[in-house]
């Protein structure tokens, strides 16, 4: 559990740094290419994941947001694994449910 915590702490820091970098690069690409087109309104899951074009300026920016939002999810997933490995089934179930709610949230709000 302890080693996992240190690992997760590293994952969190890496996630924040990576997303900060992606956001900066996205803004830089926009300024450099002059392509400030951005989707608006309800977004399709396909656009969020694959972009149009893939890694276009606004897509890089959005990936920055996504990486950021994904870091706490990675953390919860890691806790599920840790509790299962400890044989703590009650808490494995609780964290598993939390993860399920997070995933459900991703598919909800379809507009």
């Amino acid at each position: 559990m302890r080693r996992l915590e240190v690992l997760v702490s590293g994952v969190l820091r890496l996630g924040v740094a990576l997303s900060g970098l992606l956001i900066l690069v996205g803004l830089g690409l926009m300024a450099w290419s002059g392509d400030v087109s951005c989707p608006y309104g309800v977004l399709s899951l396909e656009w969020v994941l694959w972009g149009d074009p893939f890694l276009g300026p606004s897509h890089v920016l959005f990936l920055g947001f996504l990486v950021l939002v994904a870091t706490p999810m990675v953390r919860v997933a890691a806790s599920v694994v840790a509790y299962v490995m400890d044989g703590d089934w009650v808490y494995a179930a609780i964290t598993g449910l939390v993860f399920a709610v997070l995933v459900a949230g991703m598919f909800m709000g379809l507009g």
Binding site: E5, G15, I23, C38, V42, L45, F65, V69, M108
Partner: protein, 324 residues
């Protein structure tokens, strides 16, 4: 009887969030947010201004242990004329950023009560998804009013904390839920150089309050630590340090749950969210450094007034007394 009312109310919100009218934001006739109104206000100077606002609120937030969102959203709305849905969308992503950044530090020092956090997260994430669902269908006026009331509440809580900061804390025993889930914990307090053990009393009321905190967080795009910390501390008798660390641990996951819904609904406008996230990250880092030099009491007094003024303006704007 009281719990019956609360229960009915919660079921109603849940129903409305899941099956209620959707995407009023896009095709509502009352306050239509078009492509023009979204990009219309976003010019490079606006982005710099958003960055500055985020920098300031991030610094203030981390100095006071409050998320920056609670000041940032009203400032974006009033100073830059950003629609509140978009301001909240930028704020929720920033909340995830600051929470992850600070959690990476807190996790190492074992003050965080992981089990209590996980247990309450069950309530906050469901609440957050509910709140974000409600938010997608809520009008600008409703959101402003609710936000204003929340600001007034936060102001009152902070004022109360200032007056009763010297009060002693007495440890509580685990109740039956806490006993079964082993929620009680202990941590080493470096300032007092002793190990502090505590139980968690009244876990179910705290669970329900956490759900409400999740709804508020999802609805307004803020962290909601201002609700969770008093609930754990006052209702369940968790020591303040552990309550703050645990709340911070929960905020990232709670905010991530609603942030996904915000992103899908298009509330995270790139041109506002990007500067806000960067500004908050740098701001909260600076705030943590500055906190050592500034006198907390003076800062808190200023903040009580700021929250009060912003809260009153939000309510006034929400019910149409002032134009903004």
């Amino acid at each position: 009887m009281f719990w019956l009312h609360i229960g009915t109310f919660l079921v109603l919100i849940q129903y409305r969030a899941l099956f209620g009218e959707r995407s009023r934001f896009i095709d509502s006739s009352e306050k239509r947010i078009t492509r023009e109104s979204v990009t219309g206000y976003v010019t490079p100077p606006t982005m710099v201004a958003a960055l500055a606002i985020a920098l300031g609120s991030g610094a203030l937030g981390s100095m006071l242990g409050l998320g920056g969102g609670v000041v940032m959203v009203p400032l974006l709305v009033f100073l830059l004329g950003v629609p509140i849905h978009i301001a909240a969308g930028a704020s929720i992503v920033a909340v995830v950023a600051t929470s992850s950044a600070s959690a990476s530090v807190y996790v190492r020092d074992e003050v965080t009560n992981m089990r209590l956090g996980m247990f309450l997260e069950l309530a906050t994430t469901v609440g957050a998804v509910t709140g974000a669902g409600l938010m997608a269908g809520a009008s600008e006026a409703t959101l402003k009013t609710v936000f204003g009331v929340t600001l007034l509440y936060a102001s009152a809580v902070m004022w109360h904390q200032m007056r009763s900061s010297g009060r002693s804390w007495t440890p509580a025993d685990n109740d039956w839920v806490a006993e079964r889930l082993r929620l009680g914990a202990s941590y080493y307090d470096a300032a007092r150089s002793e190990t502090i053990s505590y139980g968690v009393a009244q876990s179910l009321p705290t669970f329900v309050i956490s759900y409400v905190a999740g709804v508020v967080s999802g609805l307004l795009g803020i962290g909601g630590g201002g609700i969770k910390v008093p609930a754990m501390n006052v209702v369940s008798g968790v020591p303040m340090k552990a309550a703050v660390a645990t709340s911070n641990f929960m905020i990232g996951v709670t905010a991530a749950a609603s942030a996904l819904i915000y992103i899908r609904n298009g509330f995270c406008d790139s041109f506002i969210t990007a500067p806000v996230v960067l500004g908050t990250l740098v701001g909260s880092f600076l705030g943590a450094k500055l906190a050592l030099r500034v006198r907390g009491v003076v800062l808190k007094k200023v903040f009580v007034v700021v929250l009060l003024v912003l809260g009153l303006s939000m309510v006034a704007s929400g019910v149409g007394l002032i134009w903004a």
